[in-house]
């Protein structure tokens, strides 16, 4: 098979037997799928990975368990509403994510590090960038994947509630409106939590520390904010309550939805932000999402670790 090509000038020096053999390797000349394809693959891989699909049985346990834990209370609520023939669901669509925030935080804390920390630890990030994707593609794919996974986690119980409400023959227009408001709020929550989780996780190659750091940021800020709010409320300075709420992710979402999405606030005393303060809430939430995207971009400018 080997085809020998003689170099242009024959036998320059006596005794020099050096030759280059062409042994028939060919260049790839088929279609190249390119950057968009690589980005889509990375997105779907990361999204599947967030629920343990395509990974070991052990890593399926936790995400699936948390998913079930999110959906079961919704199913119970629906069952109760159907059985008692209540006029409305006992739980608002917008309230669900606030009540289940511990589960959502745990999900972010466990899946954000598994999405990015392992790439850092096994030094696969340089391999990704040897493909046609760039920093922005990697960041967007990971961000979008975790946000989608979170959206699935938080929207599924809403869907259960909605379907249940329709089966219970509750008012269609009313329920659809509530459902839509709930979806908008969990979409915001998914983006916000995914951004915060990924930024923290991308700074440590150790999964354990990533998990602890994410959960610390999410729960400690909430604990601090709700304690301060309770104290402010008890001291009679309830004007301060909405402003304190700006300092933790979940109260941020709570504030946005009680200002614009018709939710009742979970703040102590039930004083949610008004429209004016609500604008600040929306700006802070969007600013945080943009900031976490920017930080991720900066983090992955240099991929050596």
């Amino acid at each position: 098979m080997a085809v020998e090509h003689s170099t242009g000038t024959p036998a320059p020096a006596p005794g020099d037997q050096t030759r280059i053999h062409n042994i028939g390797y060919r260049n790839y000349d088929g279609p190249r799928l390119g950057r968009a394809y690589a980005r889509r693959s990375l997105y779907s891989q990361s999204l599947r990975g967030s629920y343990g699909l395509g990974r070991s049985v052990k890593s399926k346990v936790l995400p699936m368990l948390l998913f079930v834990v999110m959906c079961v209370p919704a199913a119970i609520i629906v069952a109760v509403a159907v059985a008692t023939k209540a006029g409305a669901l006992p739980l608002d669509y917008t309230r669900n994510a606030i009540v289940m925030q511990a589960v959502i935080s745990l999900y972010v804390a466990s899946q954000a590090p598994q999405s990015v920390s392992r790439d850092l630890r096994f030094k696969t990030v340089p391999l990704y960038f040897s493909r046609p994707i760039e920093t922005a593609d990697y960041v967007r794919a990971k961000f979008a994947a975790l946000a989608s996974a979170l959206f699935i986690l938080t929207a599924a119980p809403l869907l259960v509630l909605y379907v249940g409400a329709l089966l219970a023959k509750l008012d269609f227009a009313d329920q659809t409106k509530g459902f839509a408001q709930g979806l908008v709020s969990v979409a915001l929550l998914s983006l916000l939590f995914a951004g915060i989780g990924l930024v923290i996780a991308s700074f440590t190659p150790r999964r354990g520390f990533g998990i602890a750091a994410v959960i610390a940021v999410l729960t400690i800020t909430y604990g601090a904010v709700s304690t301060l709010q309770a104290i402010a409320d008890a001291q009679g300075s309830s004007d301060a309550v909405p402003w304190i709420g700006l300092f933790s992710p979940i109260t941020l979402v709570d504030g946005v939805q009680s200002a614009f999405l018709g939710a009742t606030s979970a703040f102590p005393g039930g004083v949610g932000p008004g429209h004016g303060e609500g604008v600040v809430y929306v700006l802070v939430a969007l600013g945080l999402i943009a900031a976490s995207y920017g930080l991720l971009m900066r983090r992955y400018k240099k991929v050596g670790l």
């Binding site: 990974r55 890593s59 936790l62 511990a102 589960v103 466990s110 150790r206 354990g208 610390a216």
Partner: protein
Amino acid sequence: MYDPTVARLTYRALLGRRRALILGALPLLLIVISVAVRALAGADDQTASDLLGGLALATMVPLIGVIAGTGAIGPEIDDGSVVYLLSKPIKRPTIIFTKLIVAIAVTMVFSAVPTLIAGFILNGNGQQIAVAYTVAALVASIAYAALFLLLGTVSRHAVVFGLVYALVWEALFGSLVPGARTLSVQQWSLAVAQKVSGGDLVSSDVGLTTATVLLVAVTVLATWYAGQKLRSLTLAGEE
């Protein structure tokens, strides 16, 4: 039973590089909040008790316990470097005991000391509240460190399980199902704190005798079982 070299290595693994910053950020936040509360609301025993009980004992101590307890052994098992430690002529229970001492010390320094400082800032130790919660934090540190060290030797997902226990079981279930409170390190340590303060601001759902017995039993059993677990440790590859 105590090996200084193992202790030194564990301290370095726990506090080296930027990890001390994560551990230090939480107590700092607690103290900042206490200063803010004191400035806003003045000294108030009920507020101090709420803040120390809700934030310090319910959130901060378990979190630091998880980080220190699992961090003392988890990463080593994770990346396989524990075999170099295990191949040395040191008894496995000695390794566990040394790591437990280190984990307890780290948890105490980063949780009980700031609790005491925060308590003094909040109301100057009125009604013994600062001391009571500090004692609770000290007692809880021991139990949490032993429990989470055991988790670290048993599972690769120790941090997640530790957090599930600390947040879902103690915080969520504990507030919904009263029975769950009997099996909660937080309540056991509160029972000790109640005895110390003597007032009615600190209260627990568990009696002092039960709490003490359970605390000692959990700590001893967890340490013993972790030692046994380490004797027959199999290293698994990354999933």
